[in-house]
Amino acid sequence: MKRVSRGDWLLSAATGAAVVLVLGSLVAILGAIVVRGAPVLSPKFVFGSPGADPADGGLLPVILGTVACTLLMTVACVPLGVTTAVWLSEYAPRTSTLAGIVRSAIRNLAAVPSIVFGLFGLGFFVLFVGGKIDSVFYAQATGPVFARPAILWSSLTLALLTLPVVVVTTEEALRTIPRDVREAAFALGATRLQVVWRVILPHAKSGIWTGVILAVSRGAGEVAPILFTGVVGWQSRAPTDARDGFMHLGNHVYLLATQAPDVERAQPALYGTVVLLLLLTFSLNIAAVILRHRSRAGARA
């Protein structure tokens, strides 16, 4: 029998135990929530319209609000993020100061706490931009039109929050494209834009999708940035206008967990909502992990 030194055994035991602990808590969290929440998810609970008491479920407008906010966010953030990554990887000289500035701005953006994004969304989008729009176009209105929390402002705030995710993932995908491929395209007389559009972007497609999915998942789960920029606690319908307030699954979890009129009665609805939110963000994350794994395997082949 192979003799294992005690030091080796101890190291394996300690580090292995840490991994088991981490994975164990992941399973415990998901298990504890799903076991209680999954049975609640009836079609009526998920797709019904809400009644007077949030504890009765009827999450349709909440889901629609979440989806609408996330879609708007994606529309704003993906073109920005992909373009930034393309500039960094295909246009800017690798060692240039300008690229360094953009890179460090992306890093900073990723490090800014989400609640600060909330403050920024309120101070910039709602009060400043909305205020300017109102004073120019709606001077006659009796109340604020754009200068109030709305799904539009929440989405734009989230778009900036998730921008680094898209940039970093896309740039990583662009970096795995072999130099050969770029040179082949240039040698055939393609302009830089043609190289980007016809070769680089198609080549990096799965990497870019990974970034988009990660960004959507991140954006869909954030609550702090939307608290003051557009989310509302309770309304009976989904938003129909970019200037409407909206309900959001994440915020709904927060409200049900802390402010339900009848805590005991709201428990099932709470677990159900958490499972829905997890279903949304977690399935997206798993998709991203698989996609990323595949695109990396593809890059190696």
């Binding site: 030091g7 080796d8 580090t15 840490a18 504890a32 900073n108 609640i115 403050l119 979890v253 802390t258």
Partner: protein
């Protein structure tokens, strides 16, 4: 000899100088691409500017209150000079020290829990795990990062709080430790991922050299690999710390958010982030309370910015250390 020396399919080739294969609109598009890339720079600058814009009047409108932001003061009804955060009160008291204490207490505890666990896991995955195990476990740990913090907040509020109460019979059901354990769940994937990258960046030759000198595996790992990766591991901790300081929903839901000034890990605590989230909604715009909350936002921005810089320079140091001064930054 002319530029038109060789007719191609009957059509003369235009001069090299005269023909532009790249259309003018493409140059404009290139400019646009560069402009878009700078949106992120504009975003960072305007985040600071517009949060600071709401906070700044504090410094010329209510200047006499400025010392009260950080210095203890003898308030009516209190036994001794104290740090008090009672922004809705008679008079309002805006001493941010209790919030800083709460933040440090919770993030410190969270790091104490998450740091070792994440680092040990990273060592296992980077050094010891068979490839097949690594390929499953690494993404699984990263999936942690995909759980929305409001869900972890809820989990802490219900399960962790209950568990700790059963275990220790604590006075305060919701306290710094509950929030810290919830918070640890969000920083483990950060610290894990960055440390694991750092460990894996250590060249194989170092491990081989150590093994060839007769070192056992644990000796190689602890005496060669981990020390070599130390700057990267430091970066992982700094980045995890930054993430913990900025986290909002977990501490909002699970800390009991009471602005307590003490060192006990099981008393309630109120962090900077939770304070902003809890109070801003009903605060009158332009009031002193409003301005202080935005000033706290500026403070958070600056702290996380500084931590991020520290992390970045630690990573750069790691790269130089492992690959020499020539390494590309």
């Amino acid at each position: 000899m002319t530029a038109l020396a060789r007719p191609v399919r009957g059509k003369p080739r235009p001069s090299l100088l005269g023909s532009t294969a790249t259309p003018r609109w493409e140059r404009i598009v290139e400019r646009l691409i560069a402009a878009v890339a700078f949106v992120s720079v504009a975003a960072v600058l305007s985040i600071l500017a517009f949060v600071a814009r709401e906070a700044a009047p504090l410094f010329w409108e209510g200047r006499e209150h400025l010392p009260d932001l950080i210095l203890p003061r003898q308030w009516a009804g209190y036994d001794a000079p104290a740090h008090v955060w009672q922004p809705v009160g008679f008079p309002p008291k805006h001493d941010v020290v209790p919030l800083l204490i709460g933040t440090l207490k919770i993030t410190g505890l969270a790091m104490l829990v998450a740091g070792p666990i994440a680092l040990l896991s990273a060592v296992y995955i980077a050094e010891l795990a068979p490839r097949r195990v690594r390929e499953v476990v690494k993404p699984a740990i990263e999936l942690f990062a995909g759980i929305p913090s409001v869900v972890l907040g809820f989990f802490s509020l219900v399960f962790i709080a209950h568990f700790l109460e059963r275990l220790f019979g604590l006075t305060y059901r919701l306290n710094a430790l509950v929030a810290a354990l919830g918070l640890a769940l969000t920083i483990i994937p950060v610290v894990f991922t960055v440390s694991e990258d750092a460990l894996r960046a250590v060249p194989k030759s170092l491990r081989e050299a150590s093994a060839a000198l007769g070192a056992r595996r644990w000796q190689t790992t602890l005496l060669v690999v981990v020390p070599a990766a130390l700057p990267g591991i430091a970066a992982a901790f700094v980045l995890g710390f930054g993430r913990a300081i900025g986290e909002t929903m977990i501490v909002l839901m699970a800390s009991g958010i009471a602005p307590v000034v003490d060192a006990s890990p099981v008393s309630s605590a109120r962090t900077v982030t939770a304070t902003i989230a809890a109070e801003l909604g009903e605060t009158a715009r332009g009031g002193e309370h409003w301005r202080v909350l935005f000033a706290l936002g500026v403070l958070l921005f600056l702290i996380t910015w500084a931590l991020d810089r520290m992390g970045a320079s630690a990573v750069a140091r790691l790269r130089r250390r492992l690959h020499g001064p020539e390494a590309e930054s």
